[in-house]
């Protein structure tokens, strides 16, 4: 129900990205002071506790795709304000600010790329854009990414990072769950593989639609995943949540993930899976 809520002091650290101008930064999970250059080299993973810092969509493009190259599609799609939604900020202002801040047009970037030479339809979300929330533009770009897979008969890889549906687009955001999942029915029937990669956090409307529908679903370690936000659950049941609740490891244990994969092994793992899921002689 709570698509969009950021948790305060939930069971998993919610890192804030303010790297001081200095050369050192502090791991938000274990408090270790780390040399930024080292951290960068380690793909923003803490050497002490294996905490995966949140990285940007363009970092995943760099990390996963051959030569770090994505042939981007649908960049020109931008949000409008169907509800004329008013809260502390007008929705169009919120969009404009996010565009200025991130250099992105919305919370997902999609296109065609290669993993170890294998062509894929690729989409990656960015939490920096209104919490990676899914409105009409995200839904449309994911839909088109699925359609590119169908048309070109190439696998689909989506890297998710989202607090859920975008409240400011109301019911239209909710319907993006239906839209993307309905198209995934076609992909499913066409036996074209879909690998879903979950990063911190992937929750609510995105988790309850395409992110959960991969033929294989993998997650980075210690990501916050799930349907309802921890605070909502806590309020509903008025009871302490067990440690590690809704983490990647929790969902692995309960059978909803195929694998928890460290960032440095993501590309290799996806590449192998693509081989295993590509029919012989094609």
């Amino acid at each position: 129900m709570e698509w969009f809520k950021k948790t305060k002091g939930g069971p998993l650290p919610q890192q804030k990205k303010e790297i001081p101008n200095g050369l050192w930064t502090k791991c938000e999970s274990c408090g270790e002071i780390i040399y930024v250059k080292e951290l960068e080299k380690a793909l923003w993973v803490c050497h002490s506790c294996n905490f995966h810092f949140r990285i940007k969509s363009k970092d995943y493009i760099e990390l996963l795709l051959d030569e770090g190259v994505l042939e981007e599609f649908d960049r020109e799609l931008v949000s409008t304000d169907p509800l004329k939604f008013k809260d502390s900020k007008k929705y169009p202002d919120r969009i404009r600010d996010s565009r200025n801040k991130t250099g992105l047009n919305d919370a997902v970037t999609a296109g065609i790329g290669k993993i170890d030479g294998k062509e894929i339809s690729f989409a990656v979300m960015d939490f920096g854009f209104i919490g990676g929330s899914m409105g009409s533009v995200v839904g449309e770009k994911i839909a088109r990414a699925i359609e590119r897979s169908l048309e070109r008969k190439i696998p689909l890889v989506i890297v998710s990072c989202s607090g859920g549906a975008r409240m400011q687009e109301g019911i239209l955001s909710l319907m993006q769950m239906a839209k993307t999942s309905a198209l995934l029915a076609l992909l499913y029937e066409a036996n074209i593989p879909f690998i879903s990669v979950l990063t911190n956090p992937t929750t609510a409307g995105v988790m309850a639609s395409y992110a959960s529908l991969g033929d294989v679903v993998i997650a980075e370690p210690k990501a916050l995943l799930g349907f309802a936000g921890p605070r909502v659950i806590q309020q509903t049941i008025s009871q302490e949540l067990p440690p590690g609740f809704q983490s990647s490891e929790f969902f692995l244990e309960h059978g909803f993930l195929d694998k928890v994969v460290e960032r440095k092994n993501l590309k290799k793992t996806i590449s192998l899976l693509l081989d295993y899921l590509t029919p012989q002689g094609s």
Binding site: M1, S79, G103, E169, G205, A208, S209
Partner: protein, 332 residues
């Protein structure tokens, strides 16, 4: 809210009581009293017309939650015969927040799926206030796939304040259960008619909400988040729900405009609870009309149109001049 009526219903309820009292009193044949009663009845009708022709979004939300509003099982009993309820997800448990089973509408066999609320605390605890767990979505899917194999149309009644947010629900994959339903309902081979009869809160509603026709009762609501949830996020104050209801645009009239639903089903004046039988009769007519129309399509056409219907939802712009790539330092 005061027991069995809403604040804005009170003037009408008061007038009706007065009319009833006078009728009791006028068991004799006082022409004057009869005239007086007629006048009062006219006044009541005018008042009703006035109140219900300009309901706010928040008032409709309140009507959707009215303590006397007919629930899914009331509709099933009133508009079908020979209902046989079926239970369980064959895996974990029977989720009482959702009811499923076969019944006949005008002799035509259909599968009913309906989220069920209770009338009192005991019933509400039994039905978990109409808030489903993963096993509920899986129970619904099991029954829908059964209907698909045996070629029975599916009639779904939505009335939920949301999917249940709890530890067990997460452990058993609430998100996965809903996601799977969205995909699998898109693939079913029989007509699916969705009616939002009360509350349609977010993924909890959508999880049984993929169909060929989506209808909403006049005083129901359907939204990405409940007004209270939205108010809590925006203003950290759930008591501003009425304001959030306006911002969310969650009524049937809003959703027609946003091209999310197909039709609005009228309710008796004053809301469905003023006449359960009439409400069920209207709903029944609308469902029958859709079943008839949809039965003309081949399975492939039906599924293609269903997927297209949802594929086309959403509003966005295409911008010709692209936003320049901006370098923004290391805020990773």
């Amino acid at each position: 809210m005061n027991g069995q009526y809403l604040d804005f219903e009170k003037p009408i309820i008061d007038l009706e009581k007065k009319i009833r009292d006078m009728k009791d009193f006028a068991s004799g044949e006082s022409i004057e009293l009869i005239r007086e009663i007629q006048l009062l009845e006219k006044r009541r009708d005018r008042l009703q017309e006035e109140i219900y022709s300009r309901l706010t979004r928040w008032q409709r939300v309140q009507l959707a939650r009215h303590p006397l509003r007919p629930h899914s099982m009331d509709y099933i009993s009133l508009l079908s015969t020979d209902f046989v309820e079926l239970h369980g997800d064959r895996n974990f448990r029977d989720d009482k927040a959702v009811i499923g089973g076969f019944g006949k509408i005008d002799g035509k066999p259909v599968l009913f799926i309906g989220q069920q609320k209770g009338r009192d605390t005991k019933q509400n605890l039994y039905h978990n206030f109409g808030m489903m767990h993963p096993e509920g979505y899986r129970k619904a899917l099991r029954l829908m796939q059964l209907a698909s194999r045996f070629k029975r149309p599916i009639v779904i009644l939505i009335d939920t304040p949301g999917a249940f947010p709890g530890i067990g629900a997460e452990e058993r994959g609430q998100a996965e259960a809903i996601a799977r339903n969205l995909r699998e309902m898109s693939r079913l081979k029989v007509p699916i008619i969705i009616s939002v009869v009360g509350e349609g809160a977010s993924g909890g509603a959508l999880g049984i909400g993929i169909g060929d026709r989506v209808l909403m009762l006049e005083n129901s609501w359907y939204s990405v988040i409940s007004p209270e949830g939205c108010a809590a996020i925006l203003w950290r104050d759930s008591s501003r729900a009425s304001q959030a209801a306006e911002a969310l645009r969650l009524t049937a009239f809003d959703l027609i405009e946003l091209k999310v639903i197909d039709r609005i089903i009228p309710e008796p004046l004053g809301g469905a609870h003023r006449n359960n039988k009439e409400s069920a009769d209207i709903l029944k007519r609308e469902i029958l009309k859709d079943i008839e129309e949809l039965s003309l399509f081949s399975v492939e056409e039906l599924r293609r149109k269903r997927i297209e219907k949802f594929r086309n939802m959403g509003v966005f712009l295409k911008e010709n001049h692209l936003f320049p790539d901006k370098e923004i330092g290391t805020d990773t």
